[in-house]
């Protein structure tokens, strides 16, 4: 199966879905699911066909190619699977909303362009697909109207800045080496001067840091995540943002190569070291800001930024463990964040779009599957043992500790503890605690929402217990970057400096649970009590009058709130304001008075002549 066919199916499928939507919505839904599922199958079929290059088009005298590498297969698989699950999830979420055809078109288009990005064999195709992804994402972020518009604007402005930086880098590479083929460049670039390589890393790095929301460039993300339609937020957070990670991997380890990248700079001022620190800052600050959020999606969005920090930290650190951890974390993060957003979306679907954490609670009794999704999701996000997030974080921590970066390890670890606080608040305020009166008659989530949630929950567990499955693929990726591959078994990592064995852990926890459960069983059988039957100093609580999830960590908030403003966001807003003012001032050059205009003409002529006489330009 060739890659052109794959991409043609992806892009053609999206357009066809749109056209079918004009005929019948049922047909469209079915076809959208069909297309996205068939893509998963096609990509799965590509497993092992590494290195197949197809040249599909000539653009401006450049040969545009597609290529499968272990890295691109890995990302493509994740993209297509999560895309398919989101489409399935969307079926009922989007049913009664306006412009559904447009929604599916964009959803599938974004999916297709992400596949294009990862399969690109040259930078121009990469850039083209990247741009297509950017503008279609912009359209979909703005879909919800209202405050979504500002979020969309923020996103697209950042995104354009990023793509322009990338354009400079790409074209300067082309100007120097006369090729944009990634694999040809990787042979040529390694001999370039360090200054030029640093320039490349900075311009490409800006683009990818914006997409991956690394700390000073992150501010587009919370609003965009919060305002986009929830099933799309899942895709946005799961894979689209992580195209930045793909980009970092590509520029750092494919094009420039590990040797050059890791030796760039002097002493502590090494490029990868600075990037790792940026990643570390990105872990800590957003994680703590997430605690202050009262909007379910915004809370998750801030975690999206924080988790991105782990990935960058892992891959920037530049050891085989770190790299494997970073790449694995990308996958894991995608799985659990998609799951979390889906759970939120399921709740939103039933509660009429509510995402204010302060006004919900107790939904576990009404929407058990959504709760299970959220529970597995937050376990993965925290990185509890037996979930996939644990393994990747373990890899990153281990390399940070053993390679002598305890402070980086500290930031990464403390990020985890910050995560616990905010995600527990998330889970508690949505699903635990008191069920408000108005949600007494809420229904379960529909089956098509339950299916993806269950699949993803099981995947979290599967990859947590048998991390060897994805790590085998990741091993081949890091081997292709020229690193030593890890000694991976199906259920862990073997090494002299401390190994991991998840199956033992699993067995131990399972046995422990079973034994305790049996002990609990031997005691007198307990009676189930309603939520009104709780101890409140003997008082009975009037129904629907008591709700206490507001300000969950209030004492702590009071302590940290002054320090945890999003200063960068404030700065960017000021910057935008200044730009606006500057533009207005510039606009004043056109006074509307024709006398001034004539003066301009005369002055221009005078300056021209003066310059010639003074400096003789011609």
């Amino acid at each position: 199966m060739s890659l052109e066919l794959l991409l043609a199916a992806a892009f053609g499928g999206s357009l066809l879905t749109y056209l079918l939507g004009k005929i019948s919505s049922g047909l469209r839904d079915g076809f959208a699911v069909f297309v996205s599922v068939i893509l998963v199958a096609m990509i799965a079929g590509l497993y092992g066909k590494i290195g197949a290059v197809t040249s599909y088009y000539h653009f401006m005298g450049l040969e545009l190619t597609l290529r499968i590498s272990p890295l691109s297969w890995f990302f493509a698989m994740a993209v297509s699977t999560l895309g398919a699950l989101s489409v399935i999830f969307s079926l009922s979420y989007m049913r009664d909303r306006e412009r559904t055809d447009f929604y599916y078109l964009m959803m599938l288009l974004i999916n297709a362009s992400m596949l294009g990005i990862v399969f690109s064999g040259d930078l121009v195709s990469f850039f083209i697909f990247w741009e297509m992804m950017s503008w279609s994402t912009f359209l979909l972020i703005s879909y919800n109207r209202g405050s979504a518009l500002a979020a969309g604007m923020k996103y697209i402005v950042f995104s354009i800045i990023g793509s322009m930086a990338m354009l400079i880098g790409m074209l300067s590479l082309y100007a120097v080496y006369q090729t944009v083929n990634i694999y040809m460049l990787s042979n040529l670039v390694s001999s370039a001067s360090p200054g030029y390589l640093l320039f490349l890393l900075i311009v490409f790095g800006t683009a990818f840091a914006i997409k991956n929301a690394i700390m000073p460039l992150h501010t587009w993300l919370p609003d965009a995540y919060a305002e986009a339609p929830s099933p799309f937020t899942a895709v946005l957070s799961g894979m689209l943002t992580r195209m930045g990670v793909y980009g970092f991997l590509m520029i750092m380890y494919v094009i420039i190569g590990s040797v050059q990248t890791l030796n760039m700079g002097y002493g502590l001022l090494k490029f990868n070291y600075i990037l790792a620190w940026l990643g570390a800052v990105t872990i800590v600050i957003p994680t703590f800001i997430a605690m202050l959020q009262n909007d379910a999606k915004k809370l998750l969005a801030w975690h999206g930024i924080g988790q991105g920090g782990y990935m960058v930290l892992g891959i920037a650190y530049g050891t085989n463990l770190g790299l494997a951890g970073g790449i694995f974390h990308t996958l894991n993060h995608a799985i659990y964040i998609v799951l979390l957003f889906m759970s939120v979306a399921a709740v939103q679907y039933r509660t009429g779009g509510e995402r204010d954490l302060n006004s919900m609670g107790g939904l576990i009794k009404k929407m058990p599957i959504a709760f299970i999704g959220a529970l597995f999701g937050i376990s993965g996000l925290i990185g509890l043992p037996l979930t996939n997030g644990f393994v990747s974080k373990w890899l990153i921590y281990k390399t940070l500790i053993l390679n002598g970066s305890p402070f980086l390890a500290f930031t990464a670890l403390i990020g985890t503890w910050g995560t616990i606080l905010s995600v527990y608040k998330f889970l508690h305020n949505l699903f635990l605690g008191q069920l408000p009166e108005k949600y007494k008659d809420i229904k379960k989530s529909p089956v098509n929402m339950q299916i993806p949630i269950v699949i993803l929950s099981l995947t979290i567990l599967l990859f947590g217990i048998l991390p060897g499955l994805p790590l085998k693929v990741i091993n081949s990726i890091i081997a292709s970057f020229g690193f030593k591959s890890l000694n991976v078994t199906l259920w862990g990592i073997v090494s002299e400096t401390g190994s991991l064995n998840t199956i033992n852990l699993f067995a131990a926890i399972l046995t422990g649970c079973v034994i305790i459960w049996l002990i609990l069983k031997t005691g007198p059988k307990s009676v189930s009590a309603s939520q009104e039957n709780t101890y409140a100093a003997g008082a009975s609580i009037p129904e629907g009058k008591y709700h206490y999830t507001v300000d969950f960590y209030n004492p702590f908030y009071r302590m940290i709130k002054p320090y945890l403003k999003d200063f960068m966001d404030i700065f960017y807003f000021k910057l935008a304001g200044w730009t606006q003012t500057l533009c207005n001032i510039v606009r004043k050059t056109y006074t509307g008075y024709v006398g001034h205009y004539v003066t301009y003409i005369v002055l221009f002529l005078a300056v021209l002549i003066f310059m010639q006489l003074k400096w003789s330009l011609w």
Partner: protein, 300 residues
Amino acid sequence: MQIIAMILSPILALIIGIFFLGLSRKMMARIHWRYGPPWTQPIIDIIRLFSQKSVTHGHLFNLGLILSLAGSIVVILFIPVGRIHPLSDSGGMLVILYMLLLAPLGLALSGGEAANPNTSIGISRQLILALGYEVPLLLILLALMTHYETISIVEIVFRQQYAGWALLSSPLVLSGIGYISIMPAILGIRPFEVVQAPQEISSGPMVEYGGPYLALATIQHALNLFIGIALFVNLFLGGAGNPLFFFIKMLVVFVLGIFINAALPRLRIEQAVQYLWRWPTLLALVGLIVVIVMKSVSAG
């Protein structure tokens, strides 16, 4: 052999933990100039609780508690007690750090479903307190792991048996003092008893537990005591060659803890976090820097 160790080590921990609970009640009474209950009182309580009929608030209410206790048991399997350490080669220190999360999180989930305001307040305090002491604790553990260049707790213990206790060795002494200063918070005893605070929020996360649930929660508490102290003994007091010596070391540490518990009143949660983020963190930070500097000096 390993199977025996696996069974033995939680049981040992349970016995020691419950003994500590009883001992603490007795000792507290003596410090208060009372006669006090017999040291077997916790066992009596547990027996009584198991015979009582309780209420449950849902599946998560049960599951959370089970998970929490199982988490504690698994942590014990990772911690060397003397030379018994059945699972420590399956992940080392980092797994312990993460498994320690299961206990509070399980309780939090279970308590969350109880839909009781006191539970929520208690959990909120518990998590804040955990964040409070994790900051110095992580710094301390990183200092240890950096110093010994391993993430395996067995290796750390092993190295100390040659090179002497970490608490007394020059680069780690600050970290050791830091650990002592946060241990009451780890164990959840006064002055860091904000989580339970019976007089204030009706024993917080436990407010809806009765009968067997409370029994399990008590056991969990006992195991937590064991884990907190055993970690210190292993990390800073060089572990021990056999369980008896280990027990003696733990006993000494625990008695110290009881004195602190009996002497001090309770801090508010903000005060607790402020304390934890000030002096112990400073100590731990300086300790970590000292370790790094010493390392780079000795490396050349």
